[in-house]
């Protein structure tokens, strides 16, 4: 990006009354806004000198029309001064810190010099004299304690301190004393006698359908201020009693305070006629919906699209399928040169409504919209150096994003592929980084608008560059779920294909070597690997035998690839997404890794279709003997629990030190029922060997053995708040049980399996556990979101310097070498790469 002007800094300060008057282009003095004819009144809040909000009107101050004039400040002169509520606390501190007679800081000059530079300390010490009602070290005056009553009243020994008096005291404070406090503004500026009136462009009135005008909240508030100000003036002039004047004065103070901030504690918020609290200046700025977070830190963008996503395994992971409808709307500026001029001419001739078309042509004389009528002319006048805003088309680079954008892989760069139908399409292998599924998820698409931005996106954000996660240095993109089961089916022992079958499998993926008549699955898989690739690792299927049989492993967990040939082992998750992919990426780079993902996932799906793969309810059937064994386990556990309860009731149970007898009992019961479930799980596993659920669990495709335990064995103890279920009715969980029943089945133990079916009470307990985890998830998202916001905010300024030190806010060195070794976690495996050429044994990912 070419930066032509750069803002060097932004200073903050407070305006004096004089400055406010000087800045003002109109003195506002009447609370009326419009006359009978609906024209704004001069000196009213909609004074035409304050700016333009209606089309066709010129500004009386600068002459600009709507959009040209940004508006001008006005001012209101207050009959009596008031406190600036934002500084109420500081005013109190300063009142206490200065002498009531000579207005010097209540510290001797020597002391001041001693503490010079420590602003906070000086303010603190000088206030102490007032609090203890001491004497001024300069003039010897006795000080009187000053009380502050929120939000804006001050009392000196029960006497109300008038704002005018406060200002008089402040005016006498010397600049030198203020410098000791580090204050850069005159304190009398914190007492307002003139307030600025915001330009009407900031508080535009809107015309409703009924041609009624509806004013902005701030205008309403300013009307209130002007009304009271006027009444106060009238009353003073007519010599009204002091009491009435002070009441009105206080009211003026209230209105001005709420004009600044309508959320001050201690005073009722100013309300609209409808009873809704007004949104005044502070409310506009603060919070999630405020100016800062809504409009300044986050901005709306053009050249973006959003719609529902759906999967397309035939796209490369780098691609994104864009509906034609979107391609007709999104554009990218392309500069005309000798090489592309002919093509751009053709594109312009297509017009804005036919796909590879264009919307605008930008010439040095301005921007012209391409229409049916003028497209021929535009083609003729098109010359080198012009810019054409053409539709996005195949091959363009776009940024693709899914919220919540929790990490940088939530925004990656894809290559456009314009496709029919109305959804954005992506390769299912990239679902993981986006955390996307296709149950109605929507995603956003952004078209970068300059060559520089496009290049940057392509180099840094391309999907293939993001295969390795910077969080844990391993691939985050790769084959999953069905891809894993599919590849398992292909690469396991005894999978053989005739040449015809093999051709069906690899059609459009790789070429089959000529001549061979029969192929094993491993041979087909090997076609995807580079010819000089070597790797050995223990896969997920490894059962941790004491002596590893290596290539001759019974469960084929020992994966060995030599010279690009899979010699032994089954390709499961570790092969689709884990070490194997990681190794390919570090050794051969992103292009090879990308192709591996594209090809392996496609091949796996073909394998899946060849063999067929399903989970049936009968697969969770256990033979009679096994069911009896599980029943025995349940019986045994329940008896054991009853025994423990009996012991407890007799007061003879074992007690864990530091816990009550009841708590100990619960612990023992939980442990007992836990073993029961584990026992059932082991039986279930033993009798369901080789079924689809087990394959998926063991290869890492989906699910765990625990899921199978629950389906075939038993569901197990349900818990709420980490305990057995003990809530519900008085002294019992459900009316099905006797009061005080602590037995397993009355406290949420589910002995049935999902296959066998749950009894009504079991079902209810299971639902209780399920509800708790739902609530838990809902709370967790909020908590972790806020934690992440805080983390990001605290760390976002840290960056690596050319000397590989990490420095942050204000150039502070946070680390002398990033991560103590200067290694990028994302590229960490380059290191192991060189040290281990043979790659004899790699650790596996988690």
């Amino acid at each position: 990006m070419v930066v032509r002007k750069k803002i060097k800094g932004i200073g903050f300060g407070l305006f004096s009354s004089k400055m406010i008057q000087k800045l003002s282009s109109a003195k506002i003095h009447t609370p009326n806004t419009y006359d009978e004819d609906g024209y704004p009144i001069e000196g009213g809040l909609m004074d035409p000198r304050l700016g333009v909000i209606d089309p066709g009107i010129r500004c009386k101050t600068c002459g600009g029309g709507l959009g040209e004039c940004q508006g001008h400040f006005g001012h209101i002169e207050l009959t009596r001064p008031v406190i600036h509520v934002g500084y109420a606390k500081e005013i109190h501190q300063l009142l206490k810190a200065t002498c009531r007679s000579c207005s010097r800081l209540l510290m001797s000059d020597d002391e001041l010099r001693k503490h010079q530079g420590d602003n906070g300390k000086i303010l603190e010490i000088s206030q102490k004299v007032n609090e203890s009602e001491g004497f001024c070290p300069h003039c010897g005056e006795k000080q009187i304690k000053i009380k502050f009553v929120r939000p804006y009243s001050y009392y000196e020994d029960e006497n109300n301190l008038l704002v005018t008096d406060i200002r008089e005291r402040f005016e006498k404070i010397s600049d030198k004393d203020l410098a000791y406090l580090g204050w850069k503004i005159r304190p009398e500026w914190m007492v307002l006698s003139v307030i600025p009136v915001l330009p009407i462009t900031i508080r535009p009135s809107i015309t409703l359908e009924s041609s009624d005008r509806s004013e902005d909240d701030l205008t309403h508030k300013l009307v209130d201020i002007l009304r009271i100000n006027q009444r106060l003036e009238e009353n003073i002039n007519s010599g009204a009693p002091q009491l009435i004047i002070e009441d009105l004065w206080d009211l003026l103070q209230y209105h001005i305070a709420t004009y600044f901030d309508n959320g001050i504690t201690g005073i009722p918020p100013a309300r609209h006629r409808s009873g809704r609290p007004l949104k005044t200046i502070a409310q506009r700025l603060k919070g999630k919906e405020g100016r800062f977070r809504k409009n300044l830190s986050g901005k709306r963008v053009n050249f973006s699209a959003r719609t529902v996503i759906s999967p397309d395994p035939n796209l490369s992971i780098n691609e994104v399928g864009v509906p034609e409808l979107i391609a007709l709307e999104l554009t990218v500026p392309e500069e005309v040169n000798e090489r592309n001029i002919d093509e751009l001419r053709r594109i312009i001739l297509n017009g804005p409504k036919k796909h590879p078309g264009a919307h605008n042509v930008i010439t040095p004389y301005g921007r012209k919209r391409i229409l049916e009528e003028n497209k021929k002319d535009l083609v003729e006048t098109l010359s080198i150096g012009d810019v054409v805003e053409r539709h996005i088309r195949d091959g363009d680079t776009v940024v693709f994003n899914r919220q919540p954008s929790l990490h940088r892989n939530s925004m990656m760069c894809h290559t456009v592929k314009v496709l029919p139908y109305n959804t954005l399409r992506l390769n299912p292998a990239v679902c993981a980084p986006y955390n996307a599924d296709f149950d109605g998820d929507e995603m956003n698409l952004h078209m970068p608008q300059s060559e520089e931005a496009i290049t940057e996106a392509e180099v840094l954000m391309k999907v293939q560059e993001c295969i390795i996660s910077p969080r844990f240095s391993m691939p985050i993109i790769g084959g999953e779920h069905d891809h894993v089961s599919g590849m398992y089916l292909i690469t396991r022992k005894n999978s053989e294909f005739t040449r015809g079958e093999a051709l069906d499998m690899v059609k459009g993926i790789v070429k089959l070597p000529p001549g061979k008549k029969k192929f094993t699955g491993k041979e087909i898989f090997s076609l995807l690997l580079p010819k000089d690739f070597n790797l050995t690792y223990r896969g997920k299927l490894c059962e941790g035998c004491r002596v590893c049989k290596k290539e001759k492993c019974d469960v084929e967990a020992y994966v060995s690839i030599r010279e690009g040939k899979l010699v032994s082992g089954i390709i499961e998750k570790e092969g689709m997404k884990g070490v194997l992919l990681n190794e390919l990426f570090t050794r051969y780079g992103p292009d090879v890794a990308r192709e591996y993902i594209n090809n392996s996932t496609r091949l796996a799906i073909r394998g899946m279709m060849y063999y067929g793969f399903s989970v049936g309810i009968d697969e969770e059937d256990l033979p009679k003997g096994a069911l009896n064994k599980i029943d025995d386990i349940i019986d045994h556990a329940e008896k054991e629990v009853d025994r423990l309860i009996k012991l407890y009731n007799k007061g003879k149970s074992k007690v864990i030190p530091g816990k009550s007898a009841k708590e100990s009992l619960e612990d023992y019961i939980m442990a007992e029922l836990g073993t029961a479930r584990d026992g059932a799980g082991r039986i279930a596993e033993r009798y369901t060997k080789g079924n689809s659920a087990i394959i998926m669990a063991k290869t890492g495709a989906r699910g765990t053995l625990f899921n199978l335990t629950q389906m075939a064995g038993m569901v197990g103890q349900q818990a709420v708040r980490g305990k057995r279920i003990d809530r519900g009715y008085h002294n019992r969980t459900l009316s099905h049980f006797k009061k005080g029943d602590l037995s397993a089945e009355a406290s949420g133990f589910v002995g049935s399996s999902f296959k066998r079916g749950l009894s009504p009470t079991e079902y209810f307990f299971h639902s209780m556990g399920g509800r708790e985890s739902l609530v838990d998830t809902a709370i967790r998202t909020g908590r972790s979101g806020y934690m992440q916001r805080r983390l990001i905010n605290a760390l976002q300024d840290l960056k690596v310097y050319p000397d590989r030190s990490v420095r942050g806010d204000g150039g502070v060195i946070v680390q002398f070498t990033y991560g103590e070794d200067g290694i990028d976690p994302m590229k960490k495996y380059y290191l192991e790469q060189s040290d281990n050429d043979q790659n004899e044994f790699r650790r596996t990912s988690k």
Binding site: M1, T781, S784, M787, R790, Q796, K799, R804, V814
Partner: protein
Amino acid sequence: MNLEELPNSVKSRLDKMDAKRRYKLLQNYKKALITPGEAVGTIAAQSIGEPGTQMTLRTFHYAGVAELSVPLGLPRLIEIIDAKRTPKNCIMVIFIEEKHSKDKEFVDDIANGLRERFLPDACEIDIDVKSKKLVIKTSNEEAKGILERLTEEKMRGNRLVIKKESLSDLKKLKEKLDKKRLGGIKGINRVFVRELDGEYVIYTEGSNLKGVLGIKGIDARRTTTNDILQIYETLGIEAARNAIVKEALGVLEDQNLDVDIRHIMLVADQMTVSGEIQAVGRQGISGTKESVLARAAFEETEKHILNAALYGEVDLLEGVAENIIVGQPIPIGTGTVELAVRNQGDKKKK
């Protein structure tokens, strides 16, 4: 990278390699280095924040000892990052000097001395409402001494009777006595001795590192607490930094989440650069940033703007948040590089 700076052990290994292999090694090392300008802070924050959604919320797990419960998962992680003064359920793991660590009696002895004991642990204190008397029974000599000193009354055998005018006085006295410490270390509520890798280790509920380190026979080098602030106060900021890393890593590992240690170290380093532990949040790092706009955009918008005006602060727009606000390129990543390009049409300036 200057090869001369490498430690000798590494250098000798490098020398032994053949030239080709050494060259490849160095090439790969260079490849693995972090790129200057990289927004490592943001990456670290994302790497820790993103798995937060996958963490469990309410887990009270058991750390080695079934009787002890420590918050784990997301609440614990937030606790660490908040640099809370009093974490829920702190725990100490106290190791014993190796020569004694296998001696159960020795360890038990230390363990028994650790627990904070109060008067009611050693005696029975009852209020006799009828006769407005406080009756204390004890056989503990230590308690007797303290009681006599405290109440200026003489023990009669194992009994002490105190008479007071009113019941409320008696109650006040009883409360005072209840809180009187007999011995042990402040803050240590419960003590457990467990065997760990062949030696006896003391686990405590409640933590007081300063107190425990002063006890003879314990191995100060291995003894730890999970209260990071206590570590800071007794062992200093470097130790606290390491404690943050250790604790945060422990939480993530326990939840089976794989996060590179570099990310956690960066957070810990940022929390401790100032020399004291700063929380991640408005009272800590985010509230003390240089830039007014960055602070205002985070939390407490009005406070920061009003203060900026009072002290005449100037925002120099050096950070990320500020430049986004004013619409300028951010000085991080590719924005770090400043390059001036003269357009062909521009006239040359002298």
